[in-house]
């Protein structure tokens, strides 16, 4: 169940080019599943930043007196994340979660490939743990522009049977992008399922390659959100429903995890002409 809590910062540490914040999250941590996210209000009560920021849940833990706690990874990209990256132990944040639809988990121990772009590997930790518990084989591919933009290499090495690293500049692993190596990884792993989180162009390619190889895929999208709870209609993208019709769906409540073959990746940032309710598409509900 979604909750709004005051959350205390337990720790703020640098991880490569990112910050990882540990927060008390009683009630949220316990019900969080891989792929869920939280939103955090920026800058206090009289803040001029009126919109919350969304963060994928990186890890959850139960820490004695604190009860449930959770970690989020922050990439400083603007005034809000800059403010958040400067929070210290004992600071208090307004946190809402767990939000969104999590990754779906296979019932059997199948072969899974997890793909993370930049700090898109953050939610893969919880996912990898859950998949391991189900006896799944895990191959992981993580990539970033440079080595310091990779997230969690050492721990992911422990969680995965095989880890492939790519960087745009070749400063670590294979020079190139995660999608350059994905075809090979899928074949080598005999993949049944692909899970991905990262920038939209990466997800679009991951979905295309997976679908081409007839592998089921789920992608956690990063759409700009205003409310995170489904009331504002900001974070929509075109998704094909089970009946074949395209709707503009909210990534905060119907996502952020979508089936890779359901999202119309090329049509993101547009209203496809055949989407329900598109201008001049006709029909009266």
């Amino acid at each position: 169940m979604v909750q709004q809590i005051k959350s205390e910062v337990l720790d703020n540490r640098r991880v490569g080019g990112y910050h990882v914040l540990s927060l008390t999250a009683p009630g949220i941590a316990e019900s969080a599943q891989p792929g869920h996210f939280v939103t955090i209000a920026m800058g206090g009560e009289e803040s001029s930043m009126v919109l919350r920021r969304a963060f994928a849940i990186h890890q959850v833990a139960s820490r004695g007196v604190f009860g449930g706690t959770l970690d989020i990874a922050i990439s400083v990209a603007g005034t809000g994340t800059e403010w958040l990256a400067h929070r210290r132990r004992h600071d208090v944040l307004n946190v809402v979660g767990p939000l969104g639809q999590p990754f779906s988990l296979p019932k059997q121990g199948v072969s899974c490939v997890l793909v993370g772009g930049g700090y898109g590997s953050a939610p893969m930790f919880m996912l990898a743990q859950a998949l391991r518990e189900r006896g799944c084989r895990i191959d992981m591919v993580i990539g970033a522009s440079t080595e310091d933009r990779l997230f969690g290499v050492l721990e992911l090495k422990r969680l995965a049977s095989a880890l492939t690293i790519t960087t745009d500049d070749g400063s670590s692993g294979v020079r190139g992008t995660v999608t350059d190596v994905l075809d090979n990884v899928l074949q080598r792993a005999g993949a049944d399922v692909v899970y991905a989180c990262g920038p939209m162009p990466m997800l679009s390619e991951v979905a295309r390659i997976s679908t081409k190889q007839r592998v089921y895929s789920e992608c956690a999208v990063e759409e700009a959100m205003a409310c995170g709870i489904g009331v504002c209609m900001t974070c929509v993208l075109p998704v094909i429903g089970t009946n074949g019709a395209t709707r503009m769906v909210r990534s905060c409540v119907e996502g952020p995890v979508f089936r890779g073959d359901r999202v119309r990746w090329r049509d993101i940032n547009t209203i496809p002409a055949d989407a329900i309710g598109a201008p001049d598409s006709g029909g009266e509900s």
Partner: protein, 357 residues
């Protein structure tokens, strides 16, 4: 559903403070609270019911519904601005039939008072929307959105011209049950809002909703293009509060008997109090919901404390009080300390610490 709501509305948690009676009468409708949701910021109430008991609010004002399903505008649809945000959602929604069948039915089942906001592309569409609602029933009032800035043609913002604004309101009035109050939602982007208010009142509006967003623009300095796919958007949030308050003030001064729903950047009980003092009978909370999903419930509790701290027993008594001729009617505050306490307590972090199940 919200079984254990422990928001600021719980009287047991603020025993030192007496709360004013929050009941108000809005155009003949008895409301337990003057705090409503703002259209477009609360969908149809369902999502917010996870955070607080929506039946404790004055009413849910639903997102403006159009005749047909609407996909809305392309993304990006939103940009944060100083103390505000710019949006160009473009009235995405399921269309009136699905709205009546699903959303309105749910609100009725839930027992929430409902003000249905309607938007049309033509005068005739507004009439058809009102007729559909007349057949369905199950709501308390209509808010006629004639001021959405996110339409392709600015010339079609009905509220920018007295004549077109009046035409829409007259059509809705004629197509609706005569017992249903009709609120016309006006745009601040006009030379003289009192002139537009005058026109819609003459056309049969029961009351006015003041204000819709202001038309704005943000340019992305990286791409060196407008940030929003729709180029321009509607500005909302605390940044517009003084503009909204000025509109409420001017219209109430001109038409003191006309009920006003005031809105624009309200995010605390004090902000809500300002609008009531300026002449609003009720207030809508909008963008603040994006910052704090339990804002409407919190603001309701804060307002009750703020009003009582100023020596009033009834929220109804502060409506328009800032327009008084002299200070002989000013009650003695319960204590200056109470006002401070009320603000601090009701906005304290404790109020977020609740669980819904």
């Amino acid at each position: 559903m919200s079984a254990a709501v422990v928001t600021g509305g719980d009287p047991d948690r603020r025993q030192p403070i007496e709360h004013a009676d929050t009941a108000v009468e809005l155009a003949g409708i008895g409301l337990p609270s003057p705090v409503l949701t703002a259209s477009g910021c609360a969908a149809a109430g369902r999502e917010l019911d996870e955070f607080f008991d929506i039946t404790e609010l004055g009413a849910i004002v639903t997102k403006s519904i159009m005749l047909k399903p609407q996909a809305g505008r392309a993304t990006p649809r939103m940009s944060e601005t100083p103390s505000g945000m710019l949006n160009s959602i473009g009235l995405q929604g399921p269309g009136i039939n699905a709205f009546i069948e699903n959303d309105l039915a749910w609100l009725n089942e839930r027992g929430a008072r409902t003000i249905v906001s309607i938007a049309g592309e033509t005068v005739e569409e507004y009439g058809r929307l009102a007729a559909k609602l007349r057949s369905s029933g199950g709501f308390d009032a209509i808010e006629v959105n004639i001021s959405c800035p996110n339409v392709a043609d600015r010339g079609q913002v009905f509220a920018c011209r007295a004549e077109s604004a009046a035409q829409v309101v007259q059509t809705v009035r004629r197509s609706s049950d005569s017992r249903i109050p009709i609120f016309a939602k006006l745009s601040p982007d006009v030379t003289d809002i009192v002139e537009i208010a005058d026109a819609v009142i003459r056309a049969g509006a029961t009351g006015l909703s003041l204000i819709n967003t202001l038309l704005g623009l943000v340019i992305d300095t990286t791409t060196m293009r407008p940030t929003l796919a729709g180029t321009t958007g509607g500005l909302s949030g605390p940044a517009i509060r003084p503009v909204a308050l000025r509109c409420v003030w001017q219209v109430h001064q001109a038409f003191p008997a006309i009920p006003i729903i005031g809105m624009g950047g309200i995010r605390s009980g004090r902000d809500a109090l300002e609008f009531l003092l300026a002449g609003a009978t009720a207030v809508s909370v909008g963008t603040a919901i994006f910052h704090d999903p339990s804002a409407p419930s919190r603001i309701h509790a804060e307002l009750a404390g703020e009003v009582r701290a100023r020596g009033f027993d009834h929220v109804q008594d502060v409506i328009g009080f800032a327009h008084r001729a002299n200070d002989s009617d000013v009650p003695s505050p319960t204590s200056a300390q109470h006002a401070t306490t009320a603000h601090q307590e009701s906005s304290s972090l404790e109020d977020w610490d609740f669980i819904t199940e």
